[in-house]
Assembly symmetry: C2
Amino acid sequence: MDCIIAVDIGGTDIKFGKFYGTKLIESQKVKTNKKNKGKYILPEVFEHINLLVGEDELIGVGVGVPGPVVNGIVLGAQNLGWKEIPVKDLTMRKFPGIKVTVLNDANAATLGEEIFGGGQGYDDFVFITLGTGIGGGIIINNNLIEGNTGSCGEIGHLRVGFNNDRLCTCGLFDCVEQYASATGIVISANKLRLDRETILNDVEEVTSKVVFDEAEAGDELCLEIVDLMVEKLATALSQVANTINPEAFVIGGGVSKAGKFLLDKLSNRFKELAFFSVRNVDFQLAQLGNEAGIYGNMYRVMQEINDGN
Amino acid sequence: MDCIIAVDIGGTDIKFGKFYGTKLIESQKVKTNKKNKGKYILPEVFEHINLLVGEDELIGVGVGVPGPVVNGIVLGAQNLGWKEIPVKDLTMRKFPGIKVTVLNDANAATLGEEIFGGGQGYDDFVFITLGTGIGGGIIINNNLIEGNTGSCGEIGHLRVGFNNDRLCTCGLFDCVEQYASATGIVISANKLRLDRETILNDVEEVTSKVVFDEAEAGDELCLEIVDLMVEKLATALSQVANTINPEAFVIGGGVSKAGKFLLDKLSNRFKELAFFSVRNVDFQLAQLGNEAGIYGNMYRVMQEINDGN
């Protein structure tokens, strides 16, 4: 039977999905082998694709990577140790005659959420993933916008402070990722919990989940930490709305498990901070979790097959 | 002969352009009659269109307005005294059987610059007009992006400070417009020139032009004011670039007459403030001046005639 294999290469593991049409029939996960600047990653991906295909007929491969992508070339992926790599060409050489697509990982997840998840029914939305860092992707008029150098939606590096309080991994200060990612929430917690009465001083490990759970349960300091996170994220999202005036924000990633508690706070503060004519924005939770990328990469292959590109 | 009339309705005056094809053969300007909540504006525009058409055959009217537009309906235009007005319908009723388009004024100017001005050759760019306020428009994949509520490109209301230093006309604080528009530059000048030795204390009227001219001539305080303006505008543009990763910024409006002096400073500071993968952006001057809107509105009519919409 005809199948598409979608691959989502991450810094920790690589996810694979085998699809009949748009139906996921098998998914697998392997550790990312980052030795020697990631030189084994693609060969191992190719091998795994062959295993997954089995007796079926491979008609397309969709690859997602954690870095900017232009014309199928990954410009660099720090988490993998990669410099510029022509992923599309290398994959096509390995699987001649089949359709190959390459997407940035956040963009793939955005496309997945558009077609099968929290973005369904919206023509224009912004997907934001709150995980270890913050990533994003943008749909305008039902199209994924990738940007001039494959870097649309770098929402995590919007600047939300001017006091040089927190140095970001990107080398600049006060990026929203330093406040509103899982990592950022823990940074806030560890800065603020000293000398304060809070349940955080009694837990084994401070995580963003603990902070949100305890905020909901009424811990005052945890509420303060959540409010700081919301203030910074709402500020960043108001900048995005002032720029592209979307219909909806779709929020995913580990931190989004805080659900309605987070969404309500975020939406309320956003409406106060955005320009009056762009305030009317829906806030939705992402629906596909870790599988968003797999679905998006599969869908991009289907799109290109149908368009005859 | 077939002609298109383009109209650019502003808070001070209304510009008209008569086109044979894309060739501007006559342009006129009349004062905007804002009496009675602007109820005379459209009737006077229609009358003027008839005068301009003369013996020619009118095939299209393209109207630009200073407010958000969705499906030909102006949602409101404070400068005109307008609430919601169905400009497209009203114009079509007056000129039955001809093509009518309605665009936000900044969007019309963006389209004008795309086809005939500083945006030529770019697939993705952001137009920013630095005048009394700051407006903007966005081209992605050669298409004008208008936004869910007709408010794409509200660049002037990006937030570039968190100390509530300057209240903006929009009701929020520290919008970039309060620092980098002609008005904002004069505010900075008047705040900073007290107790300072500067040529500004000897001029008849402090304007953004005087500040830029004297900064170029070496006045220390004027340089400080320009640097503050550049810092704030570069901050705002870095947020835009982190979001949509454009190829170019095209800078227009009265303040852009400062030319290369402004562009070089802006581009240099922008490259320091933007995320590393979106830094490679061209800075261009707009080329059409006050006629950008006329050209854009004409072009939108041509597009719709050619698309058969």
